[in-house]
Amino acid sequence: MSTTVSSPRPGTPQPAGTDNGTATMSAKPVGWKTPVLLTAFGLIALVFFGLLAPNQTASFGISTSEDFFQLPALAVNAFAGGLVLSILLLGLAGYAVYLKTKGRPAPGWLTITFIVLFVAAFLIWVVGGARTPTISLAGLIAGSVTLAVPLVFGSLSGVLCERVGVVNIAIEGQLLGGAFTAAIVASMTQNPFIGLLAAAVAGAVVSMVLALFSIKYLVNQIIVGVVLNVLVSGVTGFLFSTVMQANKAQFNSPPGLDIIEIPVLSSIPVIGPILFRQSLVGYLMYIAVLVVWVGLFKTRWGLRVRAVGEHPQAADTMGINVNATRFWNVTLGGAVAGIGGSFFTLVAIDSFTKEISGGRGFIALAALIFGRWNPIGAFFAALLFGFADNLQSIVTIIGTPVPSQFMAMLPYLVTVLAVAGLVGRSRGPAASGIPYVKG
């Protein structure tokens, strides 16, 4: 019951012999791709982050003034730091090459360590080269989490849908629908909790349309998703112009959800703010990740869900109502994304504007794939995107020679790299995207 989802052709149990099993498409080929990529990135690190690094000290603040105890800032000479890290990177790449010659694939920890070190080298380089070579590491990380909140909810929605065999391109629409509904309902009731609930309902409604069309009417799931995004954008935009703008006080001034600090714990440096200084939605995010993970892999519900997503016929023959399972799971996914959408209007900001989700649903989709359809993987992938986003924001603050437009591309470039370079041909649940037609 591992996180990797591997199955041969959709719906066909392999009538293969044991140890000579036919080639499953999921197994990662021991190719040259990983070692070569790692080496290339190692060299890039050596040249840019090492040899061409400015001889300036980059300093990283770890504690904030609110913290319980203060830790000294971390100061690294950019040149030396870059050099050391890039040599380490090349070492890892060399090990991957060595493993390749032995016909073994690079282990997961190697790639992860490589990414972490590469990011560290990049950070030192970019901070070291800035006009003000000081950043708050704590702030960087806390901000990454904040920016990741809607992404996490969105990708959890994706996990819930795809695990049950329905591709969810409509995450963007679910987020937007949630944001809009949260704003309007919370404004009208003057109660953010009702707004939060309404956001979940709105997300669920968007999802129900997806479910209805893809499950009952067998319309291609990607098409429904794409069209739903347009539909939600149109409806919310229309109502924003006609209803909200006409009477902002009544319809677009939701009371926000406050930050709930857990005393003492929230003052732990770095960890405190991200774990114990969050809004209700932030805490819900952690809970949702855990609940979805436990639910999927430890409960009866999860077993059935995954069976439906992997091999619907098998589930059907065991008396599981495939389409009903799909319908309700997709609906649940929508509700989760809806809650994520409420983050925009109840936590981050206190009003709705057109397109407030700003394409984050698509990044969530990428996070889901990068996280390999696993709630925890998706969580960390979303964090990575949040990190890239926040990093570019901080880097433009401290001033860097890289034009701001290029820094703004960073999250998207990271996504391309992640999807093209690291994820490659990994496969989602076998039956994902395929409507189940009984008989």
Partner: protein
Amino acid sequence: MSENHPKHAAGEHGRPDHKDPHHPSPAEEETAAVVSVDTAGGAMEPSAVPATAQSGQLPGGPDTLLRRIFTGSGMVSVLAVLLALIIGGLLIASTDKQVATTATYFFARPTDFLSAVWTAATRSYIALFQGSVFNPRGNSVAAQFAPFMETLTIATPLITAGLGVALAFRAGLFNIGAQGQIIVAGILAAWVGFALNLPLGLHLLLVLVAGIIGGALWGGLVGVLKARTGAHEVILTIMFNYIALYFLRYLLNTPAFQRPGESNPISPILDATAVYPQIFGSQYRLHLGFILAIGATVLVWWLLNRSTLGFEFRAVGANPKAAQTAGINVSRSTILVMAIAGGLAGMSGVAQVAGTEKVLTDGVAATYGFDAITVALLGRSTPWGTFAAGLLFGAFRAGAVQMQIQTGTPIDIVLVVQSLIVLFIAAPPLVRAVFGLNPRRKKPARAAKSRQAATTGGAA
């Protein structure tokens, strides 16, 4: 031997219980044709509907919008549009002040409310029509037909970008990246248009070529990444849209792309030699790009139906494994089809910078890249279907301007109507059900029986 092989031998050979997703599997393929015909007639037998018989399945196969209109489901298409318009109308009415006012005394005088609803919706749609097809209030024949010319103008980039999306669909690829492809095409075309000084004809040709190459590069790059790494093109194209936009913004902040002496992010106006001539003179915006869009439609039709490349694309789209086994290079096809799709979207970029806008701004792509997706979907990924859908959506966009001016209805309503149309057309049974065209089927008897079954089963 032949008498032992009846035409419709009970078809259960193969894998009766194996539901292959892409093939009609109930009781085997042999029955699929029969079944699909049967379902099209309305008798939905859920367990026997092959996926391919459902309209949403891509790639679209040979049933075009035109053919659908002239077959039984043509009615469904019309009804789908009607239903979308009704829902849009209700949305308009729901926010209308007069409707709200009359609703407060609904029980006292319901006719006021109903007529207000009717007025609110029809007023908007009449304006929409006048803004897109024919304006009887125009003071000359030319002015009366001006809305239609405007429709054609706005349809131009929709058609070419829609063709790009449709072509990719046919090869089994979801090209969400027309937006980025238009942008990159716009960048190259505009630069050639304002930075170079070339003679008439050659200049425009070069602008066109530069734009097509730009789009093709941006699309082809996605194809290369997909073919080499297996990354999903949906994610790649979406990311490439953002990257292209930020790149454009960067360029527009450099002096090379700004007007001399200004620092606004807007390029110089393209040279007169670099812009599309207006077909009917300066009174209409309609430009040569529309003729080229017709040409592109013909070309794509030929490509798909009469060329070896199109054969490969369609084969890869319909069954990549079989295509590969037949010696078709799937990677090459992927790259090529994305490049051609990008080139088509690139034509939209050219239509923008050399046709209507004549400058490059960061809004060069407008929302054409995304609208193109719905256009291609509505056109069922066939060239002429896309052409027709482009005209329809062009009419919506053109009319929306007039609708907003006359009635104050926000343009967003067009998005609602457009997406509803695509949804409804993809689900004919829903439309038939809404209009009560589905033959009623008896169900209650079964429910009673199954309850009994459950109890019996439990006892046994």
